[in-house]
């Protein structure tokens, strides 16, 4: 026993010495920071021409572009995990008795699917685009706080591990710690009464991801306010930066509240407080707090994708975005209104009808700025000459799916309709049209549009189009079937289903579930093609040699990120002037 301890101590010592030796090998990790102010604190300008090699580069980087790529990789992995979970859910529901999963496994996967897609894919994929491209679009040297930027990313991997911890720990702890089965909304009293410690781990993981999102938001606000190049003012700030600014403000108000509510829930679970107990604040308090965060979260996820579409769609329409100012105003209006609609998630809880009416009014009002955006996108296309490239197809797909998701949402905002459709698959179909059909599509548009910039290569166009059409057909098949299931009265979240024939014939419900599953298979095939296309093209695709791969200059629509890209290509030709590689701004070229 003692000998074992000594061996362990020795191993630990070797490990620590090894880490110390490794750290001494990367002594320059502090100073390669491509910050304008990085070298000035000591009064001397230190320019390091190379980033550290290998994995150390990625572990220590504070370059906004590297961090953007890390966010992107993280988000794609989470998308794959969440997507496989979704696929398992769909396979389970092929038969009324459930095809493959136990009820507990189904509930675990359902919970993790929602949280993974919203917090580990949705928010990070937006941060990926924003980190890489906002400094380039506004002519900044880097983010305002590069190190905070790195921290904001590096809290995310442990957050994911905590959120998924139950899946890893259940087999090794003899099911003492299991995955959470609270659904992503974590409604009390269910979430308080589940004694499983996996729920605590998930709550801590969520809290951590919120901390990361908040740090990122502060950074974006500071960057857009203070780091713009001299010739970028508020009047000509690009639309994506506007949406990121609004989104970051929403994060700043919404996420700390989620954090507080999560801590209260943790205390109710572990320290016998009564915030959400009947004798204390009551279970409804959780719903109020959660949705006060939760509904702005919807706009946190959808505003930047709207910005991406507003940025990309005009490029392939050959003309500027119609009514730019109104698109910005509608973004700000949605940002403000988003904090006044949360209780429309709670119409059926028995709350005061006068409150319900006021929340219904504000919820309906939010359709106006949304319609303004849709109107401007269509008008932009109307007088344009459209080039149906893959990013453009995804933008058009975004607009179509957003209309369906939006219109189905307007009906849900009306109290009488909501009382009938609440907690049915209609709601699931509605919000998936937005989160997959719109947000997912905009993310794909962004990936394809900027693929030449961040890889220096071009993707395979045929595969890109196959990805689009499979995603479009799969999305509409799956989520329309869900709308129909909602009309038939199929409740959400159930692992199995049985129906009274007087409400709906079981065979009909089963058929629509099977149609939704067929759609999920089509979606899965599309996403496999996407991953193959991205990986293979990144490694072997044709190199882009023109700084304007989309021929935007002809229409006078070349943005700063492509001008920067062109400079990179020229620098490559001229024996790689490394000072250009480290930085997105103009100043650095004159400094070095």
């Amino acid at each position: 026993m003692v000998a074992g301890d000594i061996v362990l101590t020795g191993l630990m010592a070797v490990l620590l010495v090894g880490i110390a030796a490794l750290l001494t090998r990367i002594e320059n990790w502090r100073s390669y920071t491509p910050l304008a102010g990085g070298g000035t604190a000591t009064g001397e300008t230190v320019v390091h021409r190379e980033k550290p090699a290998g994995i150390i580069r990625w572990l220590t980087t504070v370059d906004h572009k590297d961090i953007g790529l890390l966010y992107g990789l993280y988000a794609i992995i989470a998308f794959a995990v969440g997507g496989i979970m979704a696929f398992l859910i769909r396979v389970q529901l092929v038969t009324p008795a459930g095809a493959i999963l136990s009820n507990n496994a189904y509930n675990s996967i359902l919970t993790s699917h929602g949280i993974t897609m919203l917090f580990l894919f949705g928010t990070p994929i937006i941060a990926a685009f924003a980190n890489y491209f906002i400094p380039l679009l506004i002519g900044a040297d880097d983010m305002a706080f590069p190190r905070i930027n790195a921290i904001a990313f590096w809290v995310l991997p442990p957050a994911a591990l905590l959120i998924w911890a139950g899946f890893f720990l259940a087999p090794v702890t003899d099911n003492m710690i299991e995955p959470a089965r609270t659904a992503w909304t974590m409604y009390t009293p269910l979430s308080v009464e589940q004694t499983n410690p996996g729920v605590d781990l998930m709550l801590l993981g969520l809290h951590l991801s919120g901390v990361g999102a908040t740090m990122g938001a502060i950074n974006f606000i500071a960057t857009i306010f203070t780091e713009r190049d001299g010739d970028v003012d508020w009047a000509n700030l690009d639309i994506f930066s506007w949406t990121m600014l609004t989104q970051s403000a929403l994060i700043l108000f919404a996420f700390p509240l989620l954090g507080s509510a999560l801590v209260m829930l943790l205390m109710d679970r572990n320290l016998q407080t009564t915030f959400f107990a009947v004798e204390g604040g009551g279970p409804l308090l959780w719903q109020h707090l959660f949705w006060f965060f939760g509904h702005p979260e919807v706009y946190i996820l959808v505003l930047p994708p709207m910005g991406l579409v507003s940025l990309i769609l005009p490029k392939f329409s050959g003309r500027k975005l119609f009514g730019f100012k109104f698109v910005v105003y509608s973004t700000l209006a949605i940002g403000v209104l988003s904090f006044g609609v949360w209780a429309h998630h709670m119409f059926s809880t028995g709350m005061d009808p006068r409150l319900r009416a006021s929340f219904m009014a504000v919820s309906l009002a939010i359709a106006i700025p949304s319609a303004v955006k849709t109107f401007n996108w269509i008008t932009t296309m109307w007088n344009g000459r459209l080039r149906l490239t893959t990013p453009m197809l995804f933008c058009i797909g975004f607009v179509s799916n957003f209309i369906i998701g939006g219109v189905t949402g307007v009906f849900l905002a009306a109290v009488p309709v909501d009382l009938i459709l609440h907690d049915t698959y209609y709601v699931v179909g509605h919000f998936h049209y937005i989160v997959m059909g719109a947000i997912g599509f905009a993310a794909f548009a962004g990936i394809y549009y900027w693929f030449p910039v961040f890889t220096g290569r071009m993707y395979q166009r045929t595969l890109g189009k196959a990805h689009f059409w499979l995603s479009m057909v799969g999305t509409n098949l799956t989520f329309f079937a869900m709308l129909a299931l909602g009309y038939l009265g199929m409740p959400r979240r159930y692992a199995t289903y049985q129906f009274d024939g007087a409400i709906a014939p079981l065979v009909q419900v089963t058929t629509f579930h099977q149609l939704a599953t067929v759609g999920a298979v089509i979606l899965l095939v599309g996403q496999l093609i996407f991953v193959w296309n991205i990986v293979q093209s990144w490694l072997e695709g044709p190199k882009v040699e023109d700084g304007d791969p989309w021929n935007l200059e002809r229409d006078g629509m070349l943005d700063r990120e492509f001008e920067w890209f062109d400079e990179q290509l020229e620098a490559d030709e001229h024996e790689r002037d490394p000072s250009l590689l480290a930085d997105g701004g103009q100043d650095e070229q004159t400094d070095s």
């Binding site: 329409s317 296309m381 109307w382 344009g384 000459r385 149906l388 129909a484 709906a504 304007d548 021929n551």
Partner: protein
């Protein structure tokens, strides 16, 4: 890297999208009419009662979405013709 030098007419594509969506609404109406949810009583614009049959609900979908999106499209055409400084043609 040129995909198509001049591109396609935006108007053609938007009109085709409009037609596709209206037809899709009809198909969805047909499907909903077939599954007959409880208390299905389509009333065109809240006035004209239609039978809750596949055909009736299909007509409901076609007309409602056709008129609704048609109004939006007419507005797009009106605004584009008068207020669009950056029009390509």
């Amino acid at each position: 890297m040129t995909q198509r030098a001049e591109g396609r007419s935006g108007q053609g594509i938007v009109v085709r999208l409009y037609v596709a969506i209206v037809v899709l609404a009809g198909v969805m109406g047909f499907v909903l009419g077939s599954i007959r949810p409880e208390n299905l009583q389509p009333r065109l614009f809240g006035v004209l009662a239609l039978p809750p049959t596949p055909l009736g609900v299909a007509i409901y979908g076609l007309v409602t979405v056709g008129v609704g999106l048609g109004a939006l499209l007419a507005l797009v055409m009106y605004v584009s013709a008068r207020f669009d400084d950056a029009a390509a043609n």
